[in-house]
Structure formats: structure tokens, C-alpha cells
Symmetry: C2
Subunit: 291 residues, 2 copies
């Protein structure tokens, strides 16, 4: 692979609007494994330096998505000794460690879902917003157990539509609404379950815009609001609040009118005080047990 | 005019998705005036009975829209003595009273806007949701006074787009966002100003779906949330909460998937405890002064 290929990969991660944070983190690790095996290089030290530069660029590509940064950091921590190894061995170990983290990330999604499904229980009506792999997996586990879903459209890209299509295939009775109707329908839910693109050390949730007003409406209507994501998505206390990513205004389909500025910020922040429980692969964390 | 024409008129009011509650109430009064002048009838008593039937049908056509019901009731109260009059005079007086109420309704919009503009003051950033004639008129009064606007898309029909086009023509700096971003952007506003399709006697606001989560976000961010509408929109204490109107699910543009039900409820209820001030043509009503 070449520097040009390298930059194309970073651009792929930066421009992806389809995949969530965990999926993109796994994709970043795949690219890292591929780079470890194929980067033209003199020795293990040079390989190590080039891979470090790639992890930096990949991490910076999606600042709102904590798992990309966290998984790449874990890879760095576990792969550091490779710098002094034989080049052939270093290539293989670096790639294998990236692949081990991909497997760990997949396992974490499954384990999150097991805990979330247990917390929700059978026969529930659950509301969600946007498309989360942990939420989708939780629903798969509960689909033959009387689950009913309420799904928001999730403008501008309509991830709720993808989710509704999946629920339809599973024959899970699903109510599909505009984002603007969330306040009306949350009262019909036994619980809200959302994923997260990242969680700050104090429990504040970074997730698709609309999550914060949904959490407010859930609180106002007395409906529990649960957040389900892998521990890779938690940020360290020393990591500042990331700048919330803004995508192309053209996604809103507006003409170019003088004096009108179209804004398309993808994420909002839901304060920890609105969260009933955080669920990760290790179990359920209640507000009183916050770090 | 004939019974067929009469039913067409009721259908026109029922199916209108473009005009707000006040505009439709004025349209209903126009139809009533036209009916008063042209209904084939034997005498004033028969005319009166036919007009009463028309007011009933028009009122029932849009149960969420209080001004239709309230203005038609005012017309009935002021026109009752016509039943005993000469037919020619009865026709003209019935029509003139309808037209007087149209003028009163227009005046009320203007007067609401004067009070709202005074309350907001110059140099403010104001956020709104959906399209209200009183809010639009308030913005027109403030447009050369440093006004900046934040406007939500307002799915499914996108009334926010019409409003943004108007603000663009006025050169009012306007930020246009998806409904899902309301929680992010309300913190940038000095105040939220929305209209209403109806207000319950306890101050609960019936307005376009999304108003309730916006009010919650405004409260959470410490931003005043004002409601500006003519007194015709207030319901009497004996009037129950109307069934919130639901429109065609096709407006959401979803395929017909098994197990998926598309819901398209146009209105939600914002409790009085979230409202900072109600503004009508008589002035500003603060929560402590609620009826």
C-alpha cells in the first residue's frame, strides 16, 4: 500500500454516514491490520512509526466517535514492544492484535445486548432513536419475546427506516414516527433504549441529535431512559468534550437562500442526570454507581 | 349553492394542510358568509337552521383547531336574532357578521404580534417551530431591529421551510435545522416563540408535534418559552381535550412493510408548567395570572 491509499482509507472513515461508531472502529482496525501487513518499510521501527501516524489520522477523522480513538489506543498500548522486533514478526503481530480487538469489540456488542435484554425483560414496548448495533442486537434477542418497538425517523439520513425494515423482517410490531412526534409517543413506551457514539467520563451521552430531547421527554413522562454501549465508547476523564461533528448542509435538501444558514450537526449531548442506566459488556451501571 | 357545494367546502377545511388554525377559521367564516347570501331557502328560519348545520360541520372538520369552533360559536351567538327577520335582511346581516369576525380575527393577529414584539425586544435570537401567522407577523415587526431566527424543518410537511423563505426575503439572519437538532440549538436562542392551534383552559398548548420536546429543552436550558395566539384559540373549561388530529401516513414516504405502522399525529400537548408567557391581543399573561 502507498501513502495515497493510506489517505483514501482515512477519507473513507471520515465520510462514512452509514456505519455507527463501533462498526467504523472495527473498520479502522481492519485498515490498520492491512497496513501492518503491506506497508512498504525498512524495518519494524519505521513500520511502527507509520502505523502510529495512521492511528492518529484515523482517530482524528471522527472526533465524536470515542471507540475509534479508544480501540486504536488499546492497539498502540498492546503493540508498542513490536518496535524492536523482527519486521516479519512485527507485521504479523501488529495485524493479529488489531484483529483480536475487532473480535473483542464484536463480543462486547453481543454481551451489552445480553445485559440490556435482561434489564428490559419480555413483553415490553421499547422506543429508540437512530440506529445502534447494540440496540439492534438487544431487539434481536427479544424479538420472539413479545417485544414491540417505537422507532423515530432520525433525520436527515433516516437511520430509523433501516431499523424499521429490520424489525419488519423479524415481525416485531413497530410504530414508525417523525422525530417531531417523539414527545407524543414516548409515553407509550415502557423504556427508551439508545446506543451512543461516545460517553464522557461523567456519564454524559454523545449520540445522534434528537437523543437529548427524547431523554427530556422520557424523564418528563416517567419512562426509564437507558444507554447501551460497549465500554470502548467511554472517554477518559482527561479527554475533553469533542467538537460535535457537522455534516454537509445539502443533506437537508434546502435551496440556497440569502440570509439562511442550514446547520446539520449530527450529535447532541444528553446529561448524565437524564440517564436511568448505562449498560456495557460488564453489566448495568446505575446512577448511584457512577465513576 | 347546493348541498354538494356545502359538503365540498367542509372537505376543503378538513383536508387543508397548508393553512394554520386562524387562517382556516377565517376561511370557514368566508364560506359561512357565502352560504348566508346564496343558500336556496324559503325563509329566515330555514336559512338559520341550514347555517347552523354548516357551522356544526365546519367545527367538527378540524377538532384540534379551537378558533374554527370559537369564531363560529361567536357568529352563532351574534346572529341568533336573525331567525325572526326578513329573509333578505337576514342574509345580509348573517354575512356581515361573519365578515366582521374575519376582520376581528385579522386585527387580533396584528395585536398579538405587537405585544409579542414588545416582549421580545430588539436584537434578539428567537427560535420557533412550525409556521404560525402570529409568529410570522411578530418577526415582520422586528425584522429591521436586529432579529435573528432559528427555524426547525417541521416534518412531515416542512412548514419551517416556508418560514425560512420568508425570513430570507426579509434578510433576517436565519439558522435552519432538522427537528432532531432542536435540543442543540435552543441554547443559542434568547427566547422561543411559538403559535398555537388551540390552548386548553388550564394553559396547555396544542401545537404542531415537536412543540412539547422544544418546550422541555427550552426549560432545561433556561430559555423562556412564549406562546403567542389570539384569544379565539383558548378553549372553554367545559371543552374536553380534543382528539389530536392524525394525517395520512403516506406523508412520511415510507414503504408498506409488514408489522410496521406509520403514525402521523400532527399535534402535541405542551403543559402549562413549561410556558413562560401566553401572549394574546389583550397583552401578556404570566403563569401567576393564569385563569
Amino acid at each position: 500500500m502507498s501513502l495515497a491509499q493510506f489517505n483514501l482509507w482515512v477519507a473513507e472513515i471520515r465520510n462514512d454516514r452509514r456505519r455507527g461508531a463501533s462498526e467504523l472502529a472495527r473498520r479502522a482496525l481492519e485498515l490498520l491490520a492491512e497496513a501492518a501487513r503491506t506497508l512498504p518499510t525498512m524495518d519494524a521501527l519505521e513500520l511502527w512509526r507509520d502505523l502510529l501516524a495512521l492511528t492518529d489520522d484515523l482517530s482524528m477523522a471522527r472526533p465524536s466517535m470515542a471507540p475509534i480513538r479508544n480501540l486504536l489506543r488499546r492497539w498502540r498500548e498492546s503493540s508498542m514492544p513490536l518496535a524492536g522486533a523482527d519486521l516479519v514478526i512485527a507485521r504479523e503481530l501488529a495485524a493479529e492484535r488489531a484483529e483480536a480487538l475487532i473480535a473483542a469489540s464484536r463480543r462486547a456488542v453481543t454481551e451489552c445486548a445480553v445485559h440490556a435484554a435482561k434489564l428490559l425483560g419480555p413483553g415490553r414496548t421499547v422506543m429508540t432513536h437512530s440506529l445502534s448495533s447494540t440496540v439492534a442486537e438487544t431487539c434481536r434477542l427479544l424479538k420472539d419475546d413479545g417485544l414491540r418497538m417505537i422507532v423515530t425517523e432520525s433525520r436527515p439520513l433516516g437511520e430509523g427506516r433501516q431499523l424499521a425494515e429490520r424489525f419488519s423482517a423479524w415481525r416485531v410490531p413497530t410504530t414508525y414516527i417523525t422525530d417531531a412526534q417523539m414527545g407524543l409517543f414516548v409515553a407509550q413506551a415502557d423504556a427508551v433504549l439508545v446506543g451512543a457514539d461516545g460517553v464522557l467520563a461523567d456519564g454524559t451521552v454523545i449520540n445522534k441529535a434528537g437523543t437529548y430531547p427524547l431523554a427530556l421527554a422520557a424523564r418528563d413522562q416517567g419512562v426509564p431512559f437507558h444507554v447501551c454501549c460497549e465500554s470502548f465508547k467511554w472517554r477518559e476523564p482527561d479527554q475533553p468534550v469533542p467538537e460535535l461533528e457537522e455534516m454537509a448542509p445539502t443533506e437537508l435538501g434546502m435551496p440556497d437562500w440569502p440570509a439562511v444558514t442550514v446547520r446539520n450537526v449530527y450529535f447532541d449531548l444528553t446529561p448524565a442526570r437524564l440517564v436511568s442506566a448505562w449498560i456495557d459488556e460488564t453489566g448495568v451501571r446505575w446512577p448511584s454507581a457512577k465513576p
